[in-house]
Amino acid sequence: MSVRGLAGLAVFVAALLVPALGSRFYTFLANDVIIWALFATSLNLLVGYTGLVSFGHAAYFGVGAYVTGILMKKLAVPFVLAWPAAGVVGAACALVFGFFCVRLTRIYFAMLTLAFAQIVWAICFKWNELTGGEQGMPEIPYPDFGWIERIGASVPLLGGWRTAEYFYFLCTVLVAASLWALHRIVTSPFGRMLTTIRENAERAEFIGVNVQRYELAAFVLAGTFAGLAGGLFGIFNRGVFPDFAYWTKSSEVLIMTLLGGMGTFFGPSIGALVLILLNQQIVSYTEYWPLVLGTVLVVLLFGFPGGLAGAVGALSGRLLRRVRSA
């Protein structure tokens, strides 16, 4: 196993150990972080790997959250079906919207993604019977953990956790699997082709690549994983609200991606971690949290265009060289 693989495994194990710290708040924070990490990584498939800047990625997140929420709450569908459904519907929406979006370039592409996201938001906000309108849909049930508790009764470590903690373990495993799948996608020949398109779409076209089709495929994949992240988030948040599809959520996830660094696979995850922790800490001290965030972003964008992951990578590289030369 490569060093990267080992590091990834170490993070996964460390994440699984968080509830053992004994603080419900740490588990809460960690759960928030891992779901956003998946959401941000799904966006990075578009922004970082394909070079398509989407301002409306929250649409698929919101759709996923509503799909899982409605299925589990109103139709009592079990989680094993309701969660994948979030990905399927997220993909379907992305296919329809993406079909139009990839026909446009740059700013027009971005504007159209935003427009579609606002349509999704408006539907969630207005369709009172289905979505609960602006009051949202509280009380999404947790998946059934009865079986694991029954097994856990005889196996040490497995039993005796709270429902929220079982859900956290479940999220950790599912997010890890999703990230692994995304990693496989970006390192596959298909993923390399996306990078080629990002670097120079015209040349890619010259060598016979159907650029629009590749872009659409990336768009649908990104929508799928955003939908899956949304499905988990609705349960974690104990309710689904139209806000999930609002443009502020789209900008939040875009900021995470930029902050962490869109050049690396784990950059957006780091962005999610840092942004959520910063938010936590700073809002306890000042109401001018956006000012702090703005300053951090300006410094990063000018000083370290590669984001936090890029900055840390550059620093550790320099350090490594110095150690070697010494």
Binding site: E134, Q135, G136, P138, L273, V274, V312
Partner: protein, 394 residues
């Protein structure tokens, strides 16, 4: 990828450790403190803080001090849920008192239920909060409900010499619920009344002209409006310009606190003086010695000659909680929840009781016809009457 791990560990260590000791009783308050709804949320939180300061000066409750932790819920259900969960998980609050809109209240109620923490809602009115299918042992309300408010207005309108009535409300939970309650009750107590028109602008509408014109074309003799807070300012200015109030001879009732001193003060000469409205409180009410004393203390606390009418809701919410803790002899939510059932408290507005069957206090509101009073630079309700809803809560 090792730096991911390092960052994670460093960040977790940086979080402040929660000190365990004999602590004050912590009360979390999610309340809108930014944007237009802060006009109500901010004074409500100040009213709660005043109560806390006063009780702590007297030694607290059960020998422990009260500590109020207020967080901005941004008048948004999602944000309110988030803030409430953080208050419980991070600040380890023992109770929740708060929320303002009818979207926030039911959403936070779910959090309270899951965490088995007593939640007292001081302002949200929607019937759904304490409806039979949503009720749980930990949710209580000291605000009026849409049923109580709509019926109170119907009782008043029924006495007017009019039969052709129109309604103007926002198209969302609060607007729909309060209007339905008004219409049903009016038809019941005055069968000759007819609803000639109903307009449903969207929440936060800026241009009411199309709605007003369509409504006036139906020639109503009276109008019931539930356009609340700052939105009422926008609406009534446009209605005044179109001569609505003169046409219907001021047979107009604005619920959703259209006649608070804050609203009449902020509108000054633009206020359609002569209409009917309501308010949770009015510094000039002063019916009882307790209210006069409360107003004087609040005026000093807020350093405002004409103190806000919203502070009282935060105050009463904290008052009920404190009395319940005292009665239960404990700060455990299970015991306090039981103590709240049927609890009667002497509030500045009068004696209030939380009913056992639906956890709802018989909180009425002040109603009155607005007039100019030379004593104040703005319109007041005169005579102002406290409408006790006990007769028509079911």
């Amino acid at each position: 990828m090792l730096h991911v791990l390092t960052l994670l560990v460093a960040a977790l260590l940086a979080l402040p450790l929660v000190a365990e000791a004999q602590k004050p009783i912590k009360v979390g308050m999610p309340m809108p403190l930014s944007g237009p709804p802060a006009l109500f949320g901010d004074p409500a939180s100040k009213g709660a803080q005043m109560f806390v300061d006063e009780i702590n000066a007297k030694g607290g409750v059960l020998g422990r001090k009260l500590e109020l932790i207020v967080r901005d819920s941004k008048a948004d259900a999602n944000e309110a849920v988030r803030v409430a969960r953080e208050l419980i998980l991070k600040e380890n609050v023992d109770f929740l008192v708060g929320t303002l809109t009818s979207a926030e209240g039911p959403a936070v109620s779910v959090v309270a239920k899951e965490n088995k923490i007593v939640f007292i809602a001081p302002i949200p009115k929607t019937d759904q909060l304490t409806a039979a299918d949503k009720l749980h042992p930990y949710v209580f309300r000291v605000a009026a409900t849409t049923t109580m408010e709509g019926r109170s207005a119907a009782e008043i309108v029924a006495k007017w010499p009019v039969t052709q009535v129109a309604t103007m409300s926002f198209d969302y939970a609060y607007g729909q619920d309060v209007t339905r309650a008004f219409v049903e009750h009016l038809k019941k107590i005055k069968p000759s009344a007819q609803i000639v028109d109903q307009q449903w602008p969207k929440l936060g509408e800026q241009d009411y002209n199309p709605f007003i014109n369509a409504q006036m074309a139906k020639k109503p003799e009276a109008i019931f409006s539930s356009i609340w807070g700052g939105f009422f300012v926008t609406y009534s200015k446009q209605a005044k310009a179109l001569g609505v109030f003169d046409t219907i001879k001021y047979n107009f009732i604005g619920v959703g606190e259209a006649a608070t001193p804050e609203t009449t003060k902020s509108m000054g000469a633009d206020y359609p003086v002569g209409i009917w409205g309501n308010s949770y409180d009015a510094f000039y009410w002063g019916e009882t010695a307790a209210h006069r004393d409360y107003t004087a203390r609040l005026s000093k606390y807020l350093k405002d000659e004409y103190p806000s009418s919203w502070a009282i809701q935060g105050y009463i919410g904290m008052q009920f909680l404190t009395e319940a803790i005292r009665k239960a002899g404990s700060a455990e939510s299970d015991k306090v929840a039981k103590a709240l059932l049927g609890l009667a408290v002497e509030t500045p507005i009068g004696p209030l009781t939380i009913r056992e069957k639906d956890h709802q206090a018989n909180r009425g509101q002040l109603y009155g016809k607005t007039v100019k009073d030379p004593k104040y630079p703005f319109a007041i309700m005169k005579p102002v009457t406290y409408v006790d809803p006990s007769r028509f809560m079911d």
